[in-house]
Amino acid sequence: MKDISLGQFYPADSFTHKMDPRAKLVLVIAFIVMAFLAKNFLSYFAVLICVVSATLVSRIPIMKVLKSIKAIIFILVFTGILNLLFYNGETVLWQWWRIKISVEGIIFSVKMVLRLVLLVMGTTLLTYTTTPTAITDGMESLMKPLKYIKVPVHDIAVIMSIALRFIPIISEEVDKIMMAQKARGAAFDNGGLLKRAKALLPVLIPLFVSAFRRAEELALALDARCYNATPNRTRYKVMKFTWRDLVGLLGTAAFIVLVVALNNNFWGAYASPASVWWLFSV
């Protein structure tokens, strides 16, 4: 059984793994912005270089990252085809009724698919290099300013932490109850939708009963540990912003500048041998 509290975490001893989760969260947001800023193929290419080099630095097999794309393959094909067929381009290649395939349409749909692929690669890199616990800690820290508008940041963080702690426990319990009911002859995978939903009752009811029992004991355990004893709660874990995070931030900033520059034909690069650069400037 895979330990779900690790999520997709891929253990490795790398530069990225050692980074501050807050920095990584900020970087992912920056990366998303970067992917949306990119306009032409040259700037897309820069974003790709960015995510590939980040993967290399993280020591995650590139195939592992590419595999995560498999999960959204349906969305990719759907977006690709839709844009291909319905984009309102001028250089029409083929047309039938309201469907038309144009050069602009082809280019646009390739870009859309590329953007989605890049987004997925970048965000999975976060989950591959950071445990959900660390992500929670990072989010709590980043949300701190919200305390001043009376958002119970700490309670939210405790809830998230408990949820993460209990996901593997509950999922193991689901497995166990399902096996126990299968052993009593229950079948979960045949019949119509209604029959299947009904077949799940012998799993759901014990699960709820157990969840309530756990919640009761957990509530006592929280009280026994003086939860909410003082508003001046301290914090043991301190996240440290190190040189790695600075390097990461500077690197990403550099890539954003590069993307913007390429978007705007900053070096007049596209002007030179027009035939070569055409591809990138569209």
């Binding site: 330990d3 932490s161 026994a224 003086c226 003082t230």
Partner: protein, 305 residues
Amino acid sequence: MSMQGKDPENFTIGQNDANGETDCVTDVGTPLIKADGVTYSYRNGEQVSRGVTDVSLSINRGEFVVILGRNGSGKSTLAKLLNGFLVPDEGIVTVRGIDTADDDKIFEVRSVVGMVFQNPDNQMVASVIESDVAFGPENLGVPREEIEERITDALETVGMEKYRKGSPNKLSGGQKQRIAIAAILAMRPEVVILDESTAMLDPKGRREIMDTVLKLKREKGMAVVLITHYMDEAIAADRIHIMNDGGIIASGSPAEVFGNEDAVRRAGLELPVAAKISLDLKKAGLDIGFALTDEELAEEICALK
């Protein structure tokens, strides 16, 4: 502790010093916990069911007390009365002189009386062991550097220091329960109540917990209250109370209580094998003394020859 700052007169000097050793020489006489004529009933609409009836007992510093009883005997209700989770209907429970019914001081009561529960999985709030152990001290507002020290100390006491950065998910039941004990120790309580904390464990896990309990008593001078239905866990106790049907039906040293066959039978408990054999041999006409452990029994038998 920030609470210490608020209310200094209720914390004796030296009780929470850096290495967790308790200064218990100063006031041996006063019990840490005292329950006097305590009655508690559960109310569920119209239905009223008795939890405990007219129970009196005291827990002294550094004492290992075992409360024995079968399921439904009221032993867990009693445990929950000792740290203010439940407030008596009649009678009074005091912890270091503080009435547990006093809502304003409830956190003080709970930081003195730590409690560990039955299912170790339901007591952990974080997916990293050190964060889980840190949770209690954080809630009490202990400064960061001291939390660090307390985590190390607590995990060393239960022998789990090398798992510090790990996840609790892959641990055995006994190991998880030791983490749960460490999480309570990090709050530097003076009494730890183990409310059926061995019930779900395998024999190895139970042994680990018993070793930890004895260590707490011997090395840290802490008081431990163990609630259980295993009589063999009570062999090393200073004092045993047997509960049945909400009341205490026998109290005393292990030899006294285990020799009280009538109470043991009435409470639906089972004597350790050695005790049972020594009693049966005596009944069969042998002139043999009472034995609690396998070793004692072997010696008694050899003395016969």
